[in-house]
């Protein structure tokens, strides 16, 4: 998309990260930590060991899946901010299904569980999609509200109907379900790591979403809705249906992300399984230029950033708030640096303004 050379892009991105880390260093100093030690852990940790690499990919997996859904929704002209809730509902339905049929053979149980979670997430995403398409209800509001409902509903289910019977009999009452039958687990990809087959599933689905959006006429129609609704309708597309479909698929991918977390990592449903992936996935999708394949490197980068922040926290034992702040700074700087890539003359213009005495900037529209 950018008009500049790859080298220039890399330079801008590096500059943005360095800028964010410099400000972060001030915060670390104020917290009494050594920024060099902290940043070494943050930047090198995720890539320097088998543990680091696999854990990065573990975090990458749900990010890719959520972001794919976001890409489909955004490309079709709906802003899905509800992936968090859709993940929860997907994981809830899938877990309930897997717990209800523990004796099914894995070859049936695993795919069926994933499908159930997809369908439940789709339903949760389809509601705001339908409301937007037919009643013109703002989907940003409705998806955020449905996040809150989903979170409370899942908490209720975990404390009541779906709670692990052992938690009740031991009297601990921790809000989580019983362990799901081993047959349904996503197998580990590497021994002695948490890396599981979910990453392969995510990569394959990224390819399929690309093919869907750019190589099929249905995908093309959905993109026309996102690009120009009036033209789309004029071209014979049933715009409302496409919007509902986009939100169904988007919610489905989020639901799947939630279930993959359960079947790959935790093997049971517990509170907070979405872990903020629903929101980070939006950033990943935008980072990846709203392209299904661009999402992959963006998710890896983001996964590394999340893991690096954890590692830094352990290395210099600073409050988690500082870690999140630095994470936020990096995102802010990288997103902000985009203008230097999109508009090559921008840097020159700013520097010129500092060199010459300030004068009103000629700008269209701001004329009077």
């Amino acid at each position: 998309m950018g008009k500049q050379s790859p080298g220039m892009k890399l330079l801008v991105l590096t500059g943005a990260v360095v800028g964010a880390l410099l400000i972060g260093a001030l915060l670390l100093l104020m917290a009494g930590a050594n920024p060099l030690v902290a940043y070494k852990a943050m930047l090198l940790g995720p890539f320097s060991s088998r543990y680091g690499i696999t854990e990065t990919l573990v975090k990458t997996t749900p990010l890719i899946l959520v972001a794919l859904g976001i890409v489909i929704a955004f490309r079709s002209g709906t802003l899905n901010i509800g992936a968090e809730g859709q993940m929860m509902i997907g994981a809830l339905a899938g877990s309930a299904f897997a717990l209800a049929f523990p004796s099914l053979p894995g070859i049936i149980l695993l795919p069926a569980t994933l499908l159930v979670s997809f369908a439940a997430g789709a339903l949760w995403g389809g509601i705001p999609g339908w409301l937007k398409a037919y009643l013109n209800v703002n989907e940003i509001l409705s998806t955020i509200m449905l996040n809150a409902i989903a979170a409370q509903f899942v908490t209720y289910m975990l404390r009541g109907p779906l709670i692990d019977p052992k938690e009740v009999s031991y009297g601990t009452g921790f809000p989580q379900t019983a362990q799901i039958a081993k047959a349904a687990w996503l197998p580990r990809l590497l021994p002695r790591t948490r890396l599981h087959w979910g990453i392969i599933l995510a990569l394959v689905l990224a390819g399929l979403v690309y093919i869907f959006l750019w190589r099929t006429s249905l995908g093309y129609k959905m993109r026309t809705v996102g690009a120009q609704k009036e033209a789309s309708r004029y071209g014979g597309v049933r715009v409302e249906r496409m919007m509902v479909l986009a939100m169904l698929l988007s919610g489905g991918f989020a639901g799947l992300a939630g279930m993959v977390e359960v079947l790959g990592i935790h093997h049971r449903l517990m509170d907070g399984i979405s872990g903020g992936y629903g929101f980070s996935g939006i950033v990943v999708a935008l980072f990846g230029q709203l392209h299904p394949l661009g999402v992959i490197p963006a998710a890896i980068l983001f996964g590394a950033l999340m893991l690096g922040a954890d590692m830094m926290q352990r290395a210099v034992s600073v409050p988690a708030a500082i870690v999140f702040t630095i994470q936020g700074l990096v995102v802010l700087f990288v997103v902000g640096s985009d203008i230097f890539i999109r508009r090559p003359g921008f840097a020159a213009r700013i520097f010129k303004r500092f060199k010459t005495p300030p004068r009103p900037v000629p700008d269209e529209g701001g004329a009077q």
Binding site: K221, G236, A367, Q368
Partner: protein, 515 residues
């Protein structure tokens, strides 16, 4: 008058040897213009001739690469619009720069200091606006909200904004492009009054009639160069048009008389509401036969848009029937109507007719992407799509670097050619062309007309909705006049005169047809 003239700060403005280049384009190549107080200078040129660039240089939006600007023989530097305003230069943009949710007075004072410091002095400003309105005959209520105003009134607000800031020289960028003929008739006397009061006006246009009607002198731009500066009265419109395009023009198309065939489009007693729920179409009936062009003439906003959209299934119908080739398509989906044989060149080519962010190929397949030969099962057949797009681009002479170019980067004429290509190549039974040449230059307009005539001769039924009477006279076989959602009359073109149509367009007729 002489007193008024001498009180103006700008007696004479000159631009000398202006050069402005953009990457790969020489937009202005040593252009010279000169305008005096009390005079209208028409800046005539086709789209892309460099008119707007030149005026943006004058208004301080662009810095020229070379050349100088002189006011009263003194060289001046214009680095920004505020410099231009300070020197007494004002610009009315083609696309209005108004805030619809604010009142007229709020729009006018936007960005200006108030006489009461941090508090607004809207009452003072409103009084001044009322004075200015009276002085220049620009009727507008200072307390009205801009969204309530018609396009013509909004333009008056733009002009008032410029006068309020004390402009002596006004730049009007294609001011009539958005106006109805009536609104144009109201604008011109105002402009004449202004010149009487010593203002000078630079009037950008590519319409010959307007040049003849309003200007004292003309500077013709072609390919970024000023090719001629002449007194308007010494030349005929035809001579000026030739200077503008640099070649001989067709005066008349060869329109072979043709016996129209079977009825292809039937509209019976059609009614529909507009977006506000008021009647937009009130019992419209007509038919179009194969091999004929039915022109629909009328002042903008009399139901033309709803008529075209209703036939295409894009606007809900509240009564009546629409038949395409005998098949009832009332209340059908747009896709079903497309399949029944409707081609549609919509009025809004950038929002409806095309997707500007998409490539040429992606725009070519807007309608038939789910059927062979463009699709294989659920998949798009890219080899075929590319072949097809290539053919269209060649046949219709769409100027583009390649097929992956986003349509947004093409000129208006090329976008229209692409839409025309897509709609005609689908071989429709009925083709609706709504304002098909609006905003196009002479060359592109001629091209569109030729293609429409060709389609007529190929036996298609064409519904031409146009606000340009010239266009209807040139290519239509019959003309229907629409007024307030009703057809006033339908005449063979041979029996129609501008006077007759003008009266019908104003709602004067013995009795509406089909009411």
């Amino acid at each position: 008058m002489s007193l008024a003239e001498s009180s103006r700060r700008i007696q004479k403005l000159e631009m000398r040897g202006i050069v402005k280049t953009f990457p790969g384009v020489l937009a202005n190549d040593h252009v010279n213009i000169e305008v005096h107080a009390g005079e209208v200078l028409a800046l005539l040129g086709e789209n892309g001739a460099g008119k707007s660039t030149l005026m943006k240089v004058l208004y301080g939006l662009y810095r020229p690469d070379a050349g100088e600007i002189l006011i009263n023989d003194q060289q001046v530097q214009i680095a920004s619009p505020s410099d231009a305003i300070a020197l007494g230069i004002g610009m009315v943009h083609q696309h209005f720069m108004l805030v619809p949710t604010l009142t007229v007075v709020e729009n006018v004072v936007l960005g200006l200091p108030s006489s009461r410091g941090m508090f607004l002095d809207l009452d003072v400003a409103a009084a001044r606006i009322t004075d200015l309105s009276k002085k220049y005959g620009l009727r507008v209520d200072p307390w009205a909200y801009v969204w309530q105003l018609s396009v013509g009134e909004q333009q008056r607000v733009e002009i008032l904004k410029v006068l309020y800031r004390g402009a002596d020289l006004l730049i009007l960028d294609e001011p009539t492009a958005v106006l109805t003929p009536q609104e144009v008739d109201e604008l011109f006397p105002t402009l004449r009054d202004m010149t009487q009061m010593g203002h000078s006006i630079i009037f950008i246009t590519h319409k010959m009639r307007e040049v003849m009607a309003i200007s004292h002198r003309v500077t013709v731009l072609r390919n970024g160069r000023s090719v001629a500066t002449v007194a308007t009265q010494d030349h005929t419109p035809r001579e000026l048009a030739q200077m503008m395009v640099g070649r001989e023009l067709l005066e008349q198309y060869d329109k072979t008389p043709r016996e129209p065939g079977k009825v292809a489009l039937q509209v019976e007693n059609l009614s529909a509401l507009d977006e506000k729920g008021l009647p937009a179409l009130r019992g419209i009936s007509f038919e179009v036969r194969r091999g004929e062009i039915l022109g629909v003439a009328g002042v903008s906003g009399n139901g033309q848009r709803q008529l075209a959209d209703a036939i295409a299934g894009l606007h809900p119908v509240t009564g009546g029937r629409i038949l395409i080739a005998g098949q009832d398509v009332t209340h059908k989906l747009p896709s079903q109507i497309i399949r029944a044989g409707l081609g549609y060149i919509p009025e809004d080519r950038l929002h409806t007719g095309s997707i500007p962010a998409f490539s040429i190929t992606e725009n070519v397949i807007l309608k038939d992407n789910d059927r062979p030969p463009l699709a294989k099962g659920p998949f798009l057949d890219f080899a075929e799509i590319e072949r097809y797009s290539q053919r269209l681009v060649q046949e219709f002479d769409v100027k583009t670097p390649d097929l992956e170019t986003p349509v947004r980067t093409l000129s208006g004429g090329n976008i229209q050619k692409l839409i025309l290509a897509r709609e005609i190549s689908r071989e429709p039974v009925v083709l609706i062309a709504a304002q098909p040449t609006r905003g196009l230059d002479i060359g592109a307009t001629e091209y569109v007309h030729q293609r429409l005539l060709e389609q007529r001769d190929a036996g298609r039924a064409i519904l031409l909705i146009s606000e340009e009477l010239d266009e209807i006279f040139k290519i239509a076989d019959r003309v229907a006049v629409i007024y307030e959602g009703q057809i006033m009359d339908i005449l063979p073109i041979a029996e129609a005169t501008p006077e007759k149509l003008g009266l019908l367009m104003a709602g004067v007729a013995a009795s509406p047809v089909g009411a």
